[in-house]
Symmetry: C2
Subunit: 327 residues, 2 copies
């Protein structure tokens, strides 16, 4: 991170009056800024942030969609080359890419859930604004009367009103701080959790994708020589099975950065045990000689535990995934 | 993966004549389809795929850009709340999000590199097409003459030409298969490697992000109560330092799915040792009591090895990162 440790620092240098100007809507007149302005002052910044979140979500959705489209195109291109090896590998790499695209799309949906939590803050901000305004308006009115008509009986009535308004506002402000802190934590906890899930699953897929690429013999041929027959169809299919198993068995890791009531010193000092961010890729030592096993493993819709390979997997994983929390 | 093990299967069911029609540009007339059609038949599919890759890259660029914008907005919103805890945490979560956005942008660039490799295949396809066409044209012409003017002396000349054209095409086809296999592997190897890098780094960031959120006390207050003073500024800063260290120390893992000359059976059976996909997040057992150390660690532009914490890190990591390959 080649930046300062605050993202705000650049703006701070230009002075606070500058900031206040832009916060008050100092930008040029436009329809979009008009629409922003109908938000009460208090919720305006978050209103815009939530709109920007929408763009972020759309971008990830688009990335997922394009990835899936490319996956299909890659497979069809490969078939079209008339080269068995390229045809098979491109098709199976296509399956992996397509699954990566689905994960990207799922990520977009998770971001949308996080966005909904920020909306709860914005809605509270919006509802607290009239309470603040009312309190201030009464205080101003009292001030005005004290100067203009110091003997007015309205002052006493207004002072009673002010006490009530202050009490009401006290509740509103407590609601605001409670909702803001809780939902801010929830929203970004959800976002970081979704980021980790997408990342861990995409790592699994990418590693199996690399295994597939290894099956493509790219030794150059001289003109007139024929390529040797493609011998890896079975292995390629097994790799997809492994990938499928890995994705199905994936579990969120209960790391120690997860939620707990924060206590002084503890959050940093307690993260002292080793845990593994992502699970290991399966398929290690998994190539079995037994043809019977292989053909069982290859059936596309085999049932949970139906393959003799599965028990084997768990053993491999159990010894490697040292930090995995059992649920 | 709740799909068939081929991404092609759906289309195959609809029959091959269907496929041929769409492959031949059966879509409605439009400028974009016209432009696609000026590509020779051989390179048309890849030409379209490469265009789709462009959309994918743009989507990831947009995601990165929006993420960085949101990060700044989050920080500014937090400052605006007037709540010290929210202000500090939102600013530092903003730094983490912003770095995630930078990674997304870097990923887009890596995808662009991968796309350039696919272009090398497309260019070869494009240049091989005339060679195929020429060979076929001469063969057709010989066939036509043999029927119409079987005594023509042109036939002998054309047959010599055909032998030359076939030799030329033999070279072209060898070039095509060599380039196609090599660049296909390279392109997707690069893409999967980039996917893993983005994922591993984003996992590091997300985990530190979750540590930051833990510092935000979200216990509800009752109306009129004041929030306790925010005590975690130093810890929050340390978390950013940890994140920065982790990103700087990140190395690609030389896993065994990486490139090696593929040999029968080996690619699957040799992946039998345990390695860790991602490194562990730092900052474990790292909270030191020594204030001197802390303040050194907090200087933004400290030099490599300048902080006493760094040696400590390496020890922690050395014992945890069991699968890390030393370079």
């Amino acid at each position: 991170m080649n930046r300062a440790l605050s993202i705000r620092s650049n703006r701070n240098r230009s002075g606070s009056q500058n900031k206040r100007a832009s916060g008050g809507g100092g930008s040029a007149f436009s329809f979009s800024s008009l629409r922003g302005n109908i938000q009460p002052e208090l919720s305006r910044k978050l209103y815009r942030l939530i709109k920007a979140e929408n763009n972020l979500i759309s971008a990830h959705e688009a990335a997922g969609r394009e990835r899936i489209s490319i996956a299909t195109q890659l497979s069809e291109w490969g078939e079209h080359t008339g080269d068995d090896a390229i045809s098979d590998i491109s098709d199976k790499v296509g399956v992996v890419l397509s699954e990566m695209g689905e994960l990207e799309d799922g990520y977009a949906h998770d971001l949308d859930d996080s966005r909904a939590m920020l909306k709860a803050i914005r809605n509270t901000e919006r509802s607290v604004q009239p309470s603040r305004d009312n309190k201030n308006k009464i205080a101003d009115e009292i001030q005005r009367l004290k100067v203009k008509e110091p003997q007015s009986t309205k002052i006493v009535v207004l002072e009673q009103e002010l006490v009530r308004a202050e009490a009401e506002n006290l509740v509103a402000e407590a609601q605001l701080t409670n909702i803001t802190r809780q939902k801010l934590r929830d929203a970004y906890e959800a976002e970081f959790t979704a980021t980790i899930e997408r990342a861990e699953k995409q790592i699994l897929l990418a590693k199996h994708g690399r295994r597939l690429l290894q099956l493509l013999d790219d030794n150059p041929v001289v003109p007139g020589d024929l390529r040797a027959e493609y011998p890896h169809a079975q292995q390629a299919r097994q790799i997809l099975n492994d990938a499928e198993d890995d994705l199905r068995d994936w579990q969120p890791q209960h790391d120690e950065f997860g939620f707990a009531a924060p206590q002084e010193q503890q959050p940093v000092s307690r993260v002292s045990t080793g845990e593994q961010p992502t699970k290991d890729v399966k398929g290690k030592g998994k190539m079995v000689d037994n043809d019977e096993n292989m053909s069982m493993a290859r059936t596309d819709s085999r049932t949970e535990g139906g393959s003799p390979l599965r028990g084997d997997d768990r053993t491999v994983e159990g010894s490697v995934g040292q930090g995995e929390t059992t649920l």
